[in-house]
């Protein structure tokens, strides 16, 4: 490490700054008509091309609003750290609306801090709020499984080997729904298609994500998607192996412009600005809000150059069906990949069906195991 670029003059100036420590800098915001301070807390870096970036894009939209100050903190662990980060925003920045965005922040952390700060509103990204929990806490979430279903349709058209791949973090219901939706979308194109899944065991573990992607490519998968916090490694590795990719969480097209088919993205900008506007107007946000494509909670990345006309047509038609409401990606006749019946003929689970939230199976055609 070299500090040679430091000139003597620069050093003297800096020393003067140190000496000037007695005249402490102004630590508070200029308080004219006290704007609403909104705090965002992220579990990872806010430029991760994934989960955190999706939320940070929402925060950026809020930042552009009139009468609002946004404060942000990244890489905050799901420990006492997040409790203290939120309290720090309340104490030092007078934050009145907080978005602790990671799933694991809710129980016990948000639930511990909220009762102590009754005049602060806590908005958490997941459908975890239930009756009886503090009324200054709210949950919101989107049905992003439908996005993976649409991803699957473009994958089904793009695959030559009839094998597609999925790099997944943990075998929990949300992830399983995404895997199943991706394959079922692809099977709308060709029922012969199979999807191989590899679980890395962690939300963010770049080395394993790269290994898993390479293993999928070695196994003959030629379209790959994922559900990990930061899809960057999966996208770049897969594209480097000449596979097509479908994105997740945020738009990863810049990472693989030629190979990117489409992606299932959160659309937090619209949701967050409307929530902040509600608070600015003196209203109250509902404690439990959910929605899908039609409600603007999720969106699809623009289709990439490799998407064929047939693919585009089926993609758009299915998207229109989903937007119309009541569409079921998980529908009978359907078995899981160990032979148990999931849905009989004529039975289906729409995106808002509560049964999907305890999903513990991989559907027939998915190569992999939940345990």
């Amino acid at each position: 490490m070299s500090f040679s670029p430091l000139s003597r003059r620069g050093f003297l100036k800096g020393s003067a700054a140190v000496a000037g420590a007695a005249t402490l800098p102004n630590l508070g915001y200029a308080d004219g008509h006290s704007p609403l301070t909104v705090g965002f807390v992220y579990v990872g870096p806010k430029d991760d091309f994934g989960y955190n970036q999706a939320h940070a894009e929402g925060a950026a939209a809020v930042k552009a609003m009139e009468g609002v100050v946004v404060v942000e903190e990244e890489n905050v662990a799901e420990t006492i750290d997040v409790q203290k980060s939120m309290e720090s925003m309340i104490n030092f920045d007078d934050a009145k609306l907080l978005f602790p965005t990671s799933f694991g922040y809710f129980d016990p952390h948000v639930l511990a801090v909220a009762p102590k700060n009754p005049d602060v509103r806590f908005q958490h990204a997941a459908g975890l709020w239930t009756e009886g929990m503090p009324s200054n806490v709210g949950s919101y979430f989107g049905y992003i499984g439908m996005g993976q279903y649409l991803n699957g349709i473009t994958a089904g058209h793009a695959t030559q080997t009839k094998k597609i791949g999925f790099v997944a973090a943990k075998p929990i219901p949300q992830v399983l729904l995404n895997i199943n939706s991706f394959l079922l979308g692809a099977r709308q194109v060709d029922p012969e298609i199979t999807c191989q899944v590899i679980f890395t065991g962690e939300w963010s573990l770049a080395v394993k994500e790269a290994e898993a992607t390479n293993a999928l490519a070695d196994a003959g998968c030629d379209v790959i998607t994922c559900h990990v916090d930061g899809p960057k490694v999966v996208m770049e590795t897969a594209a480097g192996r000449d596979c097509f990719v479908c994105g997740y969480h945020a738009n990863q097209a810049p990472l693989a412009p030629e190979k990117y088919l489409t992606g299932a993205e959160w659309n937090w900008a619209g949701i967050y600005t409307s929530m902040v506007q509600t608070v600015l107007d003196g209203g109250t946000i509902d404690n439990f809000v959910r929605g899908g494509l039609a409600d603007g909670f999720i969106k699809m990345s623009p289709l990439g150059p490799a998407v064929s006309d047939a693919s585009r047509a089926q993609f758009e038609a299915t998207k229109a069906e989903i937007m119309a409401g009541g569409f079921a990606a998980i529908k009978g006749p359907l078995k899981d990949n160990t032979g148990n019946v999931i849905a009989a003929d004529g039975e289906g689970f729409a995106e808002d069906d509560i049964a999907l939230e305890s999903m513990n199976y991989l559907v027939e055609g998915v190569i992999g195991s939940t345990s």
Binding site: P25, K84, D93
Partner: protein
């Protein structure tokens, strides 16, 4: 400066006092000077980024130590670090570099969480001690095994403890996602939530959990063990020269296994507090790096358990201020890690300075 010397040329009581003070002063002055040197280098780093060091340190002071909330924030973060640092400092007195305390924290937490699940409905007066014992026993076994491998099989304890930490985290993931998982914990696999009666509250009048008090007690107890007992003395002999210790007939094997196990027990206790005071169940959040920060603290404290207390509070204060620094100065969250790195380097380099300054030499003050 000359000191009064009595007529018969035996040093006076006060001369002995000065000598002892000089020797002890060296152990305080050099680390503090190194700390300041680390701050100075970091200030240059900030200036290169075009940021004001004055503003940075003012924010660190305000968010870490400047208000009642800042102290609560700092001390809450210090609690697990005290115990994690002991897991490094105790074996270090025997000359062992154990860096895998994270594994004992994680598995101690799982042990405490599982014991709590088994005892659901039992009186807290029974359940809490059992949970503590479970956490301590698992931690002691985990790090004690590192000591045993070292002594009986000649396995390098640094590598073994680090690799075992990865195994511990994998084991924890397997347990909380498999056999010990509460089926209701859908998207955040965890053990079943603890009985409300088994949750530890905060120290009265303070928003800081009890782990802090136990961490401080543990540090004092460890200091007594090392400085005031024959066991501690024997350990220091063995740490200084293991052959000499063996020639003297000291039970080196027992000391190594005992001190590593004790260090592991403290780390396991940290896991217990994470579960009982913070999370309310055992889950992947247990692996949050306290074991690794503990290494830094133990080295900064030069493996002196009493010194661990202020050092842990200082580093916790840095971490407590990280958020405000991000928000006000638009610096990345890694800034505080860079500061820690510079301080760590400075402290390590200062190791070569001991015995170099005549002013600290007891002889200088023991005028003959």
């Amino acid at each position: 400066m000359t000191l009064s010397v009595s007529e018969n040329m035996t040093p006076t009581r006060s001369a002995f006092g000065w000598a002892a003070l000089a020797r002890r002063a060296e152990a305080v002055v050099i680390p503090i000077a190194a700390l300041l040197a680390g701050f100075a280098v970091f200030s240059l780093f900030l200036m290169l980024q075009g940021k004001s060091p004055a503003e940075f340190f003012a924010l660190v002071y305000r968010a870490g130590f400047g208000t009642a909330f800042s102290w609560e924030n700092t001390l809450s973060r210090a609690a697990p670090l005290l115990l994690a640092a002991l897991c490094v400092a105790l074996p270090a007195r025997l000359g062992l570099v154990v860096i895998g305390g994270e594994g004992a924290i994680v598995l101690g937490g799982v042990g405490a969480g599982f014991a709590g699940v088994l005892l659901l409905g039992a009186p807290a007066a029974l359940a809490l001690p059992v949970m503590v014992v479970a956490a301590i026993a698992i931690g002691a076994l985990w790090i004690g095994a590192v000591g045993a491998l070292r002594h009986y099989r000649g396995v390098n304890e640094t590598i073994a403890s680090l690799l075992m930490a990865y195994i511990a985290i994998a084991l924890m993931n397997h347990l909380v996602e498999g056999p010990l998982r509460d089926p209701a914990s859908l998207n955040k696999p965890s053990t079943a939530p603890l009985d409300e009666a088994f949750r530890l509250g905060t120290i009265p009048g303070w928003d800081v959990h009890w782990g802090l008090a136990f961490g401080v007690i543990a540090c004092v107890a460890a200091w007594v063990l090392i400085d005031k007992t024959t066991w501690g003395f024997a350990a220091r002999i063995a740490g200084g020269n293991v052959r000499a210790a063996q020639v003297q007939g000291l039970p080196v094997g027992k000391l190594i296994v005992g001190f590593t196990a004790l260090g592991g027990a403290f780390a396991g206790l940290a896991g217990f507090f994470e579960v009982a005071a913070v999370h309310g169940s055992a889950n992947a959040s247990l692996a949050s790096g306290y074991g690794y920060t503990g290494i830094l603290i133990a080295f900064l404290a030069r493996h002196n358990p009493l010194a661990i207390i202020p050092v842990a509070i200082l580093l916790a204060g840095f971490e407590a201020s990280s958020g405000l620094v991000q928000r006000r100065m638009d610096l990345p969250d890694a800034t505080v890690l860079v500061l820690q790195g510079f301080v760590f380097m400075a402290i390590l380099m200062s190791e070569t300075l001991y015995g170099r300054f005549k002013i600290f030499a007891p002889e200088r003050w023991r005028t003959a």
